[in-house]
């Protein structure tokens, strides 16, 4: 297995009301290229912190230690560059974007051997759009010796709330086209054509109408399809989905999971699927990492995690799952009619 990224001794601390919250503690693991990898745990276990750290999107106020090492074979970045920019599909409330690199002197954020083609990697200076005035001026020297993959181009990110990641005053077509324009250096008409093709790929019922629609005109599931289209518009190596289906009903959730599975397979993307739902993660992922209180408690192949968990906490999570065949609590409680 070729690693896409190696995480070593990752620590993330937030500062809140004067006290420090250790959100991730000494986390180490590798993610293989093209695998479907799930991060699960209960709320507050550090899943989103980990996803944001990997994407270089942690808030500037966080303290980071350890390293995230990337091995992107086709990525060539001739110069050191600024911290990763704001993804076009980042929630506006995440305006305070810092980066792992900028916050951590100990982070080694190097890419592997420079590939020989920079096809999807235009120079950073060409970035435009909503990254303007954003992170580009921020502490560029902090990572003078290392490189990071670029959010939006090398990493696509899908959040739980699609409304938060879409711009309410831009049409769906413009938002997706902008990602292609920014990161692939396509002309506007090419970008717009790509946006339409992407809307077809994410199976929106009427792609032509959707191109011209504003986010508020779409249902929750449709918005999440648009957010996915924007996330994959630049052909990222890694797709991160953080609770991307958690706000959707079961039927739409299953459709979106099937869509993610298909897109990841077709494009050979690596998937980082973040979820509180171990059953959902098990249906999609090849490997599962279980987090609790900021620590990685168990990591293994899905079949092993589900059938023969080694850690008591993993077993407790599995036991707590209420499946359709779950022992009715009703009988346990002895309720009678």
């Amino acid at each position: 297995m070729t690693a896409l990224l190696s995480i070593r001794d990752l620590m993330v601390t937030y500062r809140r009301d004067g006290s420090e919250v250790a959100a991730l503690k000494h986390v180490s693991f590798d993610v293989a290229a093209s695998e479907r990898f799930a991060i699960i745990g209960e709320s507050g276990s550090g899943k989103s912190t980990l996803a944001l750290a990997i994407a270089g999107l942690l808030p500037g106020s966080s303290k980071v230690g350890g390293s995230i090492e990337w091995k992107l074979p086709n990525l060539r970045l001739p110069h050191s560059f600024a911290p990763p920019s704001v993804l076009p599909d980042i929630s506006p409330t995440r305006g305070e974007i810092g980066s792992l690199a900028a916050n951590s002197s100990s982070a080694t954020l190097e890419i592997g051997e420079g590939g020989d083609e920079g096809a999807i990697s235009p120079q950073v200076g060409e970035m435009s759009g909503r990254t303007e005035g954003g992170a580009t001026e921020r502490r560029p020297s902090a990572i003078a010796t290392s490189h990071m993959p670029l959010g939006g181009r090398d990493i696509g990110f899908v959040f739980q709330d699609p409304s938060a990641s879409l711009d309410p005053v831009m049409t769906v077509g413009e938002q997706i086209a902008e990602v292609a324009h920014t990161h692939l250096g396509l002309s506007w008409s090419q970008s717009y054509a790509r946006a339409k093709a992407l809307l077809e790929r994410v199976r929106l019922p009427d792609p032509d109408a959707a191109l011209r629609a504003y986010p508020h005109q779409l249902s929750g599931g449709q918005k999440q399809r648009v957010a996915i289209a924007a996330a994959i518009a630049a052909g990222p190596k890694l797709l991160i989905a953080d609770e991307a289906t958690s706000a959707l009903d079961a039927i739409v959730q299953a459709e979106i999971v099937a869509l993610i599975r298909q897109l990841v397979a077709e494009d050979g993307m690596t998937l980082l699927f973040v979820s509180h739902d171990i059953a959902l993660a098990a249906e999609l992922a090849e490997r599962i990492a279980v987090f609790r209180h900021g620590e990685l408690v168990e990591l293994g192949a899905t079949a092993q995690i589900v059938a023969t968990p080694r850690h008591a906490y993993t077993r407790a999570l599995l036991d707590a799952h209420l499946g359709l065949d779950a022992e009715p609590l009703l009988q346990q409680a002895g309720a009678s009619r």
């Binding site: 490997r287 707590a320 609590l329």
Partner: protein
Amino acid sequence: MSRPLLAVSGLTKRYRRGDKTIAAVDDVSFDIRPGETLALAGPSGSGKSTIARLVLRLIEPDAGRIEFEGGDFLALNGAALRARRARLQMVFQDPLAAFNPRATVARVLDDPLRIHDVASRRERPRGIAALLERVGLSADLAGRAIHEISGGQRQRIAIARAIATKPSLIVLDEAVSALDVSVRRQILQLLLDLQREERIAFLFISHDLGVISAIAHRIVILDAGRVAESGDARAVIGAPQSAIGKALVAAAPKLNRTSTQGTADRQ
């Protein structure tokens, strides 16, 4: 068989959308017996929350009848409605959201005791302590602000608030959906204990069939405002007949703890 506690028939609620009218709830009938849990399931937008609001008389129907505790619930108003409302409580997904986050737990629990005259001013602190104990919380929590307590504790307090007036029916709309699995199980267990001890009936709204099969006696599955099918919860979930029932069952994530889940590339 006992008489229904709640009997809903022909319930209809329409909303205007642009120049069209949609029936959010369309000729829905069901009943709930004392001490029974009836689940309402269906995809989002199928009318579950609208039915909850109609039953609670937070909104009025365009057609249909609601009988509660043997009387015409829709005919009540003023003092009679207020009195009957004590018997019909609710718990929502984030039920304390409407409160000032700095409000204390005691303040949140004092309201129903005061409004419905359940306890005199002098007795109320004791009433609050007893309620906290009923829902498995320490009486020390009374002085804490609601923003300081965990999601599971908040939901217990919402349940304590709901049972304060000794209701015969509690409407729960996605009440456990936002909770972590382990906490969710504890809350379901608490609901079942309360049901057994006090014979409270639940109208339990959830999009999660796993939760429903664990705690509901019967189920009504809705599709676009109409009843698609109904019956014994485990029988319906085990062998759904309607298209929407089949789709909901197929969509529920399944944990196969004996096999090779995740290795196969199913689509």
